[in-house]
């Protein structure tokens, strides 16, 4: 409990630091938003004349897009510091976390905050809210509960893959390309109903790189479209569990890789 309290104190201080630089704050959020707006603009323009993509309407896809984007923003809130791990390991700055009596992963992730991730969260929530009006979902208590679990599960899943990739920094010192590639695949492919890829690609995006569990499968549940899945609907209902399991595994993996850390430069 103490660990959590200290982590929150760290995170609060980090947030206050960022808010000091107002223009930078706005610009960071603006850039995050602009990226997502272009992505959605593409779908909107492409569908403005043709109305459906693989049987999904613009509203359905906006719903899926919003779901993924919110999950994406959610994993970035606690783990946005991962992009800086390479540099800290290379410079030997990781030493600090090893000598303090608090879990190094918790310390490392909460000591600073990269504000531009808020752009993704804001974009995701706005898009999601707008899309729910278009698709008319019946928000029964189980549906709301499932949505909350799916968002956390989706965030945990993408976060766990990024966590696992970043952990390789302890061995390789450079994971930049790998993390960027992962992010690129998620933010491009994750926003589409994956059945349009068909066959091998769809299977790969479900069972090898489990992108489907982030938003596509949960969206089929909430939109009552599990009937069109080529896999058992149970996979869709259990999507949040996949995220949780991956996250626990990724944390263990990260802590294990941390043992390979070699301090440098002192």
């Amino acid at each position: 409990m103490d660990a959590l309290r200290i982590s929150f104190a760290f995170a609060g201080a980090a947030l206050r630091t960022e808010v000091q630089y107002r223009l930078n704050l706005l610009l960071g959020i603006g850039v995050g938003l602009a990226f997502q707006i272009t992505g959605f603009l593409f779908i909107w323009v492409a569908l403005s004349r043709f109305h459906s993509l693989g049987g999904w309407s613009l509203g359905d896809i906006a719903f899926l897009y919003g779901l993924r984007l919110t999950a994406h923003g959610l994993w970035l809130i606690p783990l946005n510091r991962l992009v800086e791990l390479d540099e800290e390991v290379r410079q030997g700055r990781f030493d600090v976390y090893l000598v303090r009596p608090l879990n190094p992963l918790l310390q490392f992730t909460t000591i600073r905050f990269r504000i531009n991730v808020l752009g993704d969260v804001v974009g995701g929530v706005v898009l999601f809210a707008a899309a729910t009006r278009l698709v008319g979902i019946d928000w029964s208590p189980p549906a709301v509960g499932y949505l909350a679990l799916a968002l956390i599960g989706g965030a945990a899943l993408e976060g766990s893959l990024q966590l696992a990739c970043s952990a390789m920094a302890f061995r390789w010192l450079d994971t930049w390309g790998l993390r960027l590639m992962l992010d690129d695949v998620f933010s491009n492919f994750g926003n589409y109903p994956l059945h349009i890829f068909g066959g091998v690609s769809q299977w790969l995006l479900t069972f090898v790189l489990p992108l489907a569990f982030v938003a596509y499968l949960p969206a089929t549940v909430l939109l009552h479209r599990t009937g069109e899945l080529s896999i058992h609907p149970l996979f869709a209902y259990l999507a949040p569990l996949v995220g949780a399991a991956c996250f626990i595994a990724a944390c263990c993996f990260w802590m294990r890789q941390m043992r390979n850390y070699q301090s440098s430069g002192h």
Partner: protein, 269 residues
């Protein structure tokens, strides 16, 4: 021009530096290429799903559209201008002071550097083209003449991209930081270049916007000539439009450069 001729060896020297720099960023370069190829694949799948069973939309078959999309994305990748990043870095570190004392002007140095990067980048066409053919789709040009006109139009597209990069880079003389402008411009230019949705499928207002922006001249015009969507008299108009953009952007770049020289701040110098 005579100044450039006198300093031709320096120009060549900086071009070689540009080539070498490119090859030191191997992981970055690989990432951008793989990302572009995945984008091509994604566009193919999405547009195939949108077409559904319709054989043609606005007179364009899905096969031709895929060729167009593959071409525009490969083009944007290989004509990419790295000038803004270069200017920003030289300014931030104060190295611009050295650059300005060289007999070869600063803009010419930027062009030489960019040229080096592009030459080095072209070596990647060898793996990129077969992969683009596999993940997207490529074909021969609509006719041999269309092929030749395409090459010409592509050259002009490269110049336009270079000039836009130059203007954006020079903004750093005022603001020092141009990362935000660069990123946002990147998204805007990508969208309005017609590399995601072909401009002929843009809805009314957006199409008007796309037609008055220079970005269609970077990707859409050459690729449309290649697939034969623009032909005959249309080619003259399209290449003429590219020419007009080059003149306008050149004038703007020259004006910005004259003012930038008076704004210079050398950090740590």
């Amino acid at each position: 021009m005579s100044r450039l001729w006198r300093n031709r060896r320096a120009f060549a020297g900086i071009t070689v530096v540009g080539i070498r720099t490119f090859f030191t960023y191997r992981s970055l370069v690989t990432f951008f290429m793989v990302s572009m190829l995945l984008q091509v694949y994604l566009l193919k799948v999405v547009w195939t799903a949108i077409y559904g069973s319709q054989p043609r939309i606005d007179g364009v078959s899905i096969q031709t559209l895929i060729v167009y999309l593959t071409l525009t994305n490969v083009q944007l990748h290989f004509t990419f201008s790295d000038v803004p990043r270069l200017v920003r870095n030289r300014l931030r570190e104060g190295q611009v002071a050295t650059d300005l004392t060289r007999p070869l002007g600063f803009p010419a140095q930027l062009v030489a550097n960019q040229l080096g990067g592009t030459i080095a980048g072209l070596t990647l066409l060898l793996p990129a083209l077969p992969l683009a053919l596999f993940l997207g789709g490529l074909s021969l040009p609509a006719s041999p003449v269309a092929g030749l006109l395409y090459m010409g139009s592509l050259g002009l597209a490269y110049l336009i991209e270079l000039l836009i990069g130059m203007i954006v880079g020079l903004i750093a003389f005022w603001t020092l930081e141009i990362w935000g402008i660069q990123v946002i411009l990147g998204f805007v230019s990508r969208f309005f270049s017609g590399a995601l949705v072909p401009i002929w499928l843009f809805p009314g207002v957006l199409r008007k916007v796309a037609e008055v922006l220079p970005f269609q001249a970077i990707a859409s015009i050459p690729a449309s000539i290649f697939i034969g969507r623009i032909s005959g008299r249309g080619v003259v108009d399209a290449i003429g439009l590219q020419g007009i953009w080059i003149v306008l952007l050149l004038a703007l770049a020259a004006w910005v450069w004259r003012r930038a020289q008076r704004r210079i701040v050398v950090q740590g110098g």
